[in-house]
Symmetry: C2
Subunit: 454 residues, 2 copies
Amino acid sequence: MAADNESMGESQRFAKFVSDTRWEDIPSNIRHEANRSLLNFFACSLGGSRDAAVKALAATLSPFAGPGVATVIGRQEKFDPLNAAFLNAVSANVFDFDDTHTPTIIHPSAPVAPALFAFAETSRISGPQLLLAFVLGVEAECRIGNAVSPGHYKRGWHITSTCGVFGAAIAIGKVMGLSAEHMKWALGNASAQAGGLLETLGTMAKSISVGNAARNGYLAAVCARQGVSGPERPLEGPYGFLNVTGPNANSACIVNGLGEHWELGSNTYKPYPCGVVLNPVIEACIALARDERMSLSDIERVVVTGHPLLRERTDRIEPRSGREAQVSAQHSVAVVLTDGKAGLAEFSDACAAAPSLRPLREKVFVVEDDSYAVESAMVTIYLRGGNKLSLTTEQARGSSNNPLSDADLEKKLSELVDYSNAPCEKARLIDAIWALDTVDDAGKVIALAAGVPR
Amino acid sequence: MAADNESMGESQRFAKFVSDTRWEDIPSNIRHEANRSLLNFFACSLGGSRDAAVKALAATLSPFAGPGVATVIGRQEKFDPLNAAFLNAVSANVFDFDDTHTPTIIHPSAPVAPALFAFAETSRISGPQLLLAFVLGVEAECRIGNAVSPGHYKRGWHITSTCGVFGAAIAIGKVMGLSAEHMKWALGNASAQAGGLLETLGTMAKSISVGNAARNGYLAAVCARQGVSGPERPLEGPYGFLNVTGPNANSACIVNGLGEHWELGSNTYKPYPCGVVLNPVIEACIALARDERMSLSDIERVVVTGHPLLRERTDRIEPRSGREAQVSAQHSVAVVLTDGKAGLAEFSDACAAAPSLRPLREKVFVVEDDSYAVESAMVTIYLRGGNKLSLTTEQARGSSNNPLSDADLEKKLSELVDYSNAPCEKARLIDAIWALDTVDDAGKVIALAAGVPR
């Protein structure tokens, strides 16, 4: 057996692992992380469900869509499962407020969860079946992401899209009960569809590649079931995904420690809808705005000090859109000191364009200091008359070492539903997500997130 | 204006060129080449329409498909336009018998023509509108292919798929009358979907990437019309298609000589369904089998001499499938000397597995000689008793310098219809394709290729 295993390629070994793994094999902390990821997924998808990109894509796909059997989260339309998976992935990711697999910066849930829930509305599967497939789908995309990191993203690939398609394929392959051979074909059929470029970030085109990851991964698995064959080594072959999109890919990441180490354990959730490097800055500003008595008009200068990445990624004094505001230290400081909070409204196009924030943004300076970790930052406010207020965040919430609590995630869902105004019974949905491992029909859970007034 | 033009990026300049170009701007030889390409497209698609990959993919997509308004060539089902475009691209390319753009080895028609004909069945467009959009779509994919060649294919990208999606996007953008700005978005929306790996060659998974090129290109343009925005420089941007998938891409290829040099002029059509390097070998064998009196049992040895690529790509004594037979000099020589012809039946899985060909295949040797051009080869047959027959093909048919005639293309369509047994009125279809530039409703032409008995 061991020798056999060694003679198999990484694609085949991974496919066999997926076919063989049972719900009983998943440790309880990883099971709970699956619930947390799905709660965060529904939160983000509900929050994004009324965004212009989701609307435009739903309108585009509608004339081509098959029978409407699957829920579009936060919306009234129903679509065929492939298109529903596409649209729910788009809404989950449109604000980049979704989860982050720290080693790769993949957003793991957006491609995988929508495919599974769309499947669950057409073929009855239990909660544990869905959760197991979710864990394995995330395992696939994140291990493939590990294998091509860091060269892949650096070269310009939108890693959530390019790797996500494998996650959706494995997840759907698992709920369909594919054999190891067909599971490998599902990987091959996914490899033929992997795409997505960083150049599209900040435009709606990015959402197409994220939606495709969910849709095309789903399709890859259904193709495999139907007999559409793939190559023997879709990942590690000389012209396979790893070598072509690497560079310097390490195929051992696909199989090392399978069943012992779970990638979902490295998943994190954002407290604020902006670049993670801004988290410690925002937290310091929230505390300063809450605790210190100052008038905004007294502020002469704000100095933000942090890890070099902070300056590199976010020193942006004039964001031209909500998307740019999400990666602007100047905007973040100005809006949080003004409003006391940092939700989607504070990073909207309208807020980015608000003339009232401009004077304060111009007073914010970013200083790099490589003694700071990326999860920490200091904010110092210089006031007229010589006074100075300063606060340091040591460990921003939302990082691996200071994760959002279950209650934080519930609150995030509640606030995002309020933001998008989707007519969703929040408490029932939250309860249903926590109870997923006990239900016979996982499809009923997503139905609770439909944007249909009850 | 000139200065303006220079300040624009290549994506924008190309988009503007497409928006501005009229049917009157297309030279007559290029117009005629468009008819020839489409004739060859219908021939290949009809020939491939009953292949197992087409059947499996049609069965896979059927439950997810929208209203059936568009023809699937050679078949009875109708599908929504996106899925019909997908399936017709698959059938056109499944045997690699379709056209070849010599500089890039892109198969230009498979992604572009199916998207246009599917569109023509839902929105009335004239023959010249379709032909103009076809010429421009081919221009897009082949110029982008030129820009990334040869590094792109060498790295492992299936260039027909990766570049084809841009061709379909531009073609559909043109028939929809997109502005230059929206045309650029269509390029961006296509860039988010470009994919396809050489590792999948020889498996059905390859067909998924070719089908997606047509489908996703179509989708990219409809998205752009609906307001789905793309980046400013989807092709030449730092993380755009050229830089990410190059390497060593040359963005000047996108715009140099626009409107003066037309890529469709470099399109070629295969006389035989196999690797083009085998064309001169097959022709010599057909002539030897026809003209020489010999018994196969008298053959002691066959020596094939040609360009180094011939040995490198086709020295394959035991093909395990029809796909491998297509790139086997041994199989090609054996089957042609035996049957006297080289059609799809001679490169089927069944024929590759036929035990009767085995003894002859084992007597065939490939010798490289770099004094031969790739379009030429010598076949020498050593007979028992010391006699020797030898024939050299100087310039194989199907190459740029010895193209198939219009009559050859008509014959190809006829033979491929006979092969697949599709119930198609060949003469009416052929006439309609030649007359495309005179018709008001291009959608009627593809209806003639439906696999519906009349």
